[in-house]
């Protein structure tokens, strides 16, 4: 259930009028391509790097892969402010958890915390305009626009991928894709996904999928960033558009 906050859209003789200034002034949106997959030794997260404010590219080298614990990371999509705030809160709780319980948190714990924050705050995180298709009446309502993919590795459970879509439900998946660019790569992923890929195969899969998403989605672009999570820890990869996303590859 969502609360109504007044009229802003109308059905006139010349069609539906929609107030496009529904974003909070200055709000930065992550029109995005993000994904995370399971592979033989753990998980891989991947994302493009474009951040937009309307049509303007506010940042072309954004890092949408955010660390919340040693080997628990998340891919953020939706409002940059909201998802950063949520990731910061989860990060605080996971660090607290590892100190109090003298044990690294599992990916499940991170998933539970993310879900609680996204579900309980879904009505207050962001103003979004909804227009009734039949009446043309628009409602400005507050809605969380955080679409988050969580991927983590721990020695006991291995690699795990969880997805939290807009409403705040929690889904455990073999692999997960999200953001506006993901709509273009459902076919690619379905055709090319295999269980138990090697690290090299997994990287190729994620890189290939994001390359397509960036190619077709106007709101995605820039570089491709990856994070590989295994027993060895977290390793970042970077792939640049100037070489058609072939390199430089693994970084620090």
């Amino acid at each position: 259930m969502v609360a109504s906050h007044g009229l802003t859209g109308m059905l006139g003789e010349d069609g539906i009028h929609v107030d496009m200034n529904h974003l909070k002034s200055g709000e930065v949106n992550l029109g995005t391509s993000i994904m995370a997959i399971n592979f033989k030794d753990g998980v891989i997260l991947g994302a493009d790097s474009r951040t937009t404010t309307g049509a303007y590219i506010a940042n072309r080298v954004t890092d949408k892969l955010t660390q919340v614990h040693d080997t628990i990371w998340c891919c953020r999509s939706g409002s940059a402010a909201d998802t950063q705030a949520v990731a910061d809160i989860v990060s605080y709780h996971l660090n607290m958890y590892s100190i109090v319980n003298n044990e690294a948190p599992s990916t499940q714990v991170a998933g539970a915390l993310f879900q609680e924050l996204c579900y309980e705050n879904k009505d207050m995180l962001r103003l979004v305009l909804f227009v009734n298709w039949y009446t043309g009446i628009g409602h400005l309502i507050y809605r969380c626009s955080a679409g988050i993919i969580i991927a983590g590795y721990d020695p006991r459970h291995g690699g795990q991928v969880y997805s939290i879509p807009l409403g705040g439900s929690l889904h455990k998946q073999a692999y997960s894709i999200g953001g506006s660019g993901s709509t273009y790569i459902y076919g690619y992923c379905d055709a090319n996904w295999r269980e138990n890929m090697t690290e090299e195969e997994g990287i190729q899969f994620v890189r290939g999928a994001l390359r397509e998403a960036i190619k077709w989605d106007g709101s995605s672009g820039g570089v491709i960033r990856l994070v590989v999570l295994t027993a060895k820890g977290a390793q970042r990869h970077l792939y640049l558009p100037d070489t058609d996303y072939t390199g430089p590859g693994a970084t620090y």
Partner: protein, 294 residues
Amino acid sequence: MTSIGTGYDLSNSVFSPDGRNFQVEYAVKAVENGGTAVGIRCKDGVVLAVEKIITSKLLKPGANRRISTVDRHVGIVSAGLAPDGRHFVSRARDEASSWRSVYKGPIPISALANRLGSYVQAYTLYSSVRPFGVTSILGGWDSEAELAVDGQVGSGPQSGAGGKVKGAKSGGPGLYMIEPSGLYWGYYGAATGKGRQAAKAELEKLDLASEKLSLHDAVKEAARIIYVAHEDNKDKEFELEMSWISSLEGPTKGRHEEVPKELLEEAERAARRALEGDDEDEEEGAKGNEQMEE
């Protein structure tokens, strides 16, 4: 006690000059009068047992339970003031439930022991409260299975997660004893209440650290130990109450449950036999001595 009447025992939150809190020590005295309670931790589960002294013939046997379930996988038995024990269990349930609401899964036994220890300790700090008149034994089983997040949908790759490390720490039994001071330790075998000395002596003989004792044998040993501990209090009748938590493959599937009636009765019969055997040995021994003197 030499310090009685010196004024340092009138309030919590007041140390005596030699650094003691007498109110806490008096609380321990209350525990020492309570029915004996024991806990045994084995590789495949935990057993809790308590000696309930029958204070009136009008009490209904089997009613008035002293072992409580805190969460599906945790049980508590306490010795001392029964109402304090119930309040303590109530707090334990709140802690377990609060953990579930935050982390969407069962609370680890170690974390529950830590929270309860902190709670009990707080009752030693303020002049407006008295310490808990109970020592509680907390037993439970941390699931060895991969736990889902409560309410999650889906189950990941069909082939399972990649990169699992063999032999990584995963679940198992937990047994803790929390004292009126808030002090708590993890144990292989724990005993408290009136017969604790005899019970501890018996527990030490079991070599629990080697983890060779099975859960079924532990049930029998727990019953026997309560019977042994009752020997010094023979004039009073008692009822034995026992509960257990097994591994997921075991009889309770990781849950805290009453020991089934048949097994409880079997264990009690075995306990009585063992005690009668001891008595005969003693009589024989006595005869032997007489013969030696002839």
